[in-house]
């Protein structure tokens, strides 16, 4: 189903929007600012527009079509109720700067979600405004830094495990810290002893993912927290994998100081092909005073008030400041709240349990055909990790991944975490059925066996996708980032097959 670019569809003189009002000439005051000619962009009529995007959409894989077993990039079912709720005019059609008495229901959504996030994590405060997970990490690190500075305690190093998401070191660096590695034990967890050795007055804190990116629970988390605190540092927990323990474990019980929560990973907000996200950050009592503005408080009459710059001096004197315009990702809050209400405290436990059950089922169903580096150490959490160790020379993790596309599945996360060679990180999530997992396992087994048999056809996979392997080097060598009409380019779409198959 080939589809030309909008720029190739002869959009001159068309219109997909009608107007009823004749504006006349612009006012004379702005004449000197007025552009000489329209922005050079084509328009399509509405039928063409619907068709263009509908056809394009069909070149995408999506959770609505099949599983997305992307370890550490959780993609679970996105309930349609949440979409309907987020579109209620009372949420979707209100302005962030309306007088506060006219948006008490919106404030109540934020307050309720915040309260439940604190209860689920047993933490003292939550910053709701971060716009995505990495933004939440930044929030947590800034709060840590603000707290340390408030103590007058300049520290310059943040320790991060090698298995961490790239956002962890990037965030620490972005906030002005030097980054050092935390070594791991053979069983895929933080080496507590080595960590303790490194702690000292220059270490601002650690960033630890728990459950970690090898899919394992950090058994020593509480001991780590205690050690870091004892050395004057603070503990950031990357909450990307909170979905594995929600309702079962409260991270606050393990002594952490800050943790972001990706609402799409744990609370099912849609990922939309790359965002928007939302990354609320729960904070310990030690960090709570430094939380960013804006945040909600109730005044003496019980009305909800957003603490912004005006009232920050009174109500947030130690806040490290604002992280973004307005109050956060409201559209994600309504969805996440609807999700939590739907599951309830009982359902959320079941979410974690089923996610872990599904991952262990995958682990135990594949460990005989693929190398599973930590399988002997016990159960995994929400994701199962394999390596390319028992693939023959020349056969790679990438070949398995691309082969999976031809089997009708999105590939797993590959080559991450970096600590495992040719890593394949598989996260089914709780919203996959057993029948679906059995199909996936069947495909994986078949691919593993083909790879072991040296089946060279895997090298040319995918064959049944909208595109074969892409030349990524060419894209980076001389980047073409916008469309330019080629001389004589006809702008004709190529003939295509019909889209159903």
């Amino acid at each position: 189903l080939e589809e030309p670019l909008i720029f190739e569809l002869r959009g001159k003189g068309k219109c997909g929007v009608d107007f009823d009002y004749d504006p006349g000439e612009p006012s004379p005051e702005i004449a000197k600012f007025v552009r000489k000619k329209d922005v050079e962009l084509p328009a399509l009529a509405e039928p063409e527009t619907v068709r263009h995007y509908t056809r394009l959409s069909r070149q995408n894989y999506a959770i609505d079509l099949g599983p997305f077993p992307l370890g550490s990039c959780t993609m679970k079912h996105n309930p349609r109720l949440n979409e309907a709720v987020a579109r209620l005019p009372g949420f979707a059609d209100i302005h962030p700067l309306q007088p506060m008495d006219t948006v008490q229901g919106a404030f109540a959504v934020i307050e309720q979600l915040a309260d439940w996030l604190m209860k689920l994590t047993n933490m003292s405060a939550v910053a709701m405004s971060p716009k995505a997970g990495a933004h939440g990490e930044l929030c947590g690190i800034l709060a840590m830094r603000a707290a340390l500075e408030a103590r007058g305690d300049a520290r310059e190093v943040v320790l991060v495990p090698e298995s961490a998401h790239g956002t962890n070191p990037a965030t620490a660096a972005f906030a002005g810290y030097k980054v050092e590695n935390i070594p791991a034990t053979k069983d895929g967890r933080v080496d507590l002893a080595k960590l303790k050795e490194r702690l000292g007055p220059d270490v601002a804190g650690v960033m630890i993912t728990n459950p970690n990116t090898c899919g394992l629970f950090e058994r020593d988390m509480k001991a780590i927290s205690d050690a870091v605190h004892a050395a004057g540092g603070l503990v950031y927990c990357d909450g990307a994998n909170f979905n594995a323990i929600v309702g079962k474990v409260r991270p606050g019980d393990l002594g952490i100081d800050a943790m972001h929560i990706n609402l799409h990973k744990t609370f099912s907000t849609p990922h939309g092909g790359g965002g928007p996200g939302s990354g609320p950050v729960v904070l310990s009592a030690a960090l709570a005073p430094f939380a960013p503005i804006p945040f909600l408080r109730r005044d003496d009459k019980g009305r909800l008030r957003m603490v912004e710059e005006r009232s920050a001096k009174t109500h947030a004197p130690e806040s490290f400041g604002r992280m973004a315009a307005f109050h956060g990702q409201m559209g994600m809050f309504t969805r996440a709240l609807a999700y939590i209400l739907s599951h309830g405290a009982d359902g959320l436990r079941q979410v974690a349990e089923d996610a872990v059950l599904n991952a262990n089922y995958v682990l135990r169903s594949l460990e005989d055909v693929l190398d599973a580096p930590y399988a002997d150490a016990g159960p995994c959490m929400h994701e199962a990790l394999f390596s390319d160790d028992n693939l023959p020379d020349g056969m790679t993790t990438l070949d398995i991944a691309k082969g999976l596309i031809d089997e009708g599945f999105h590939p797993m996360t590959v080559y991450f975490p970096l600590v495992v060679h040719g890593a394949m990180l598989i996260e089914p999530t709780e919203t996959e059925s057993k029948i679906g997992l059995d199909r996936f396992i069947g495909s994986m087994r078949s691919l593993a066996e083909r790879a072991k048999a040296g089946d060279e056809t895997l090298k040319s996979a995918p064959r049944y996708a909208p595109r074969r392997r892409m030349d990524e080097a060419r894209a980076a060598r001389k980047p073409v980032l916008t469309w330019k009409a080629a001389p004589g380019q006809p702008g004709e779409p190529s003939l295509s097959e019909i889209g159903g198959s």
Binding site: I6, F7, F19, P23, F33, V34, D38, V39, L41, P42, L56, S57, N60, L65, L81, L88, P89, G90, F91, A92, D93, I94, H95, L97, A134, H135, E137, P169, A170, F174, V179, I245, G247, K248, D253, H271, G274, G275, P276, A325, F326, H327, G331, I340, L341, S342, G347, Q350, N358, R364, P379, H410, S433, A465, R467, R468, M470, E472, A476, T482
Partner: protein
Amino acid sequence: MRYLPLTETDRSAMLEKIGASDIDALFADVPAEALQKTPIAGLPLHASEMAVERHMKRLAAQNLSAADAPFFLGAGAYRHHVPATVDHIIQRGEFLTAYTPYQPEIAQGTLQVLFEFQTQVARMFGTDIANASMYDGSTACWEAIAMAGRITKKSRAVIGAIHPHYLATSQTMARFTGDTLVPVTPVLSADAGEDAVIAEIDETTSAVVVQYPDILGRIPDLQKIADAAHEKGALLITVVTEPVALGLLESPGSLGSDVVVGEGQSLGVGLNFGGPYLGLFGAREKYTRQMPGRLCGETVDADGKRGFVLTLSTREQHIRREKATSNICTNSGLCALAFSIHMTLLGGEGLGKLAAINHARAAHAAKRLGAIKGVELVNTGGFFNEFTLRLPGHDAREIAFRLTKRGILGGVSMGRLFPDHDEMGEGLLVCVTETVSDEDIGLFADALEEELA
């Protein structure tokens, strides 16, 4: 539970395959004292779709939504009519529930949209290139300042009359990165303050940041500022909070801006109480490798067919870790899609018409409101669809609040945005888009007249 497909039979069979006695055997690595034995207290138990919907509708009903009141708010978030087609398309599962397009073979839908989006943004901004979107305008603004620092190896940015939230967001980051921001606070006057900004530029200046139109609705002379900045080796970063304005006004890129950032919410996205929104980011081509955020580029597949991929990811955190240009992982993909669809429906000509209508309606309102006794129109030097009224002797916050009692959402008070500058307290920022009817303007004017009488 309706979202969970495992049955009890499935769970037993799977535990057996795993060789675990019960589910908690899989949580064996969690210290016993940390494992919750019962549902966490303080949250309700599970609920039906009907009950959840009822609860959420009750909360929604406690807000005064824009459709139910004459509506005049702007200040970085604008209410425009979004064609029904936009919401239809973004709800297609293949867009809504797709992941970041790391596997381009099965993500060409998202990738081609991003490539089209980048082209649309670049052409609108008058820049060579644009990225695949950022969180929102305010974070894009800081990212631009940081990028200017990387390019110029300097760290002092002069900030004009930009949205105070954008300034505050940048100040938060600057505090930690060691950058210096020099804000030139606006005053309630028709003069867009180019000279005051230019006066602050020196050889140590990395960037000059101005908003176009600015936070008071005034239109600054970009070329003049650009020339002054370039003379000192600084970049001009132009912030656009209302992209519809670029249907009527000359593009910032063509007026000497080196980087143009903005908030794209006006097209396709809607108000949504402030988020999710859509950060736009365009720049000169020579800065490509200093850009933050995702970039989508054209290439070919193994059969030689044209296709698109995320590219130059060596700038990014998942490859470069602590040496990345930014820690950003998520962009605002679905909002970029919405923006792009809306822009495809409009085209350049439609955007021009829409802009002209916005301007005409705002001019009409400004005339009517400016004629009220006790009201002074600040923007006598011109504006796009937003202008500031001065209400001498009044705190505009109080007036805005009293207007809501009459069912009118009558603008954003400058006192809310500039709490530290008392002289701004008399300012009321009024925005008039194509969604505002003559009747709305009349109701607002009458109410304001009565409040001030």
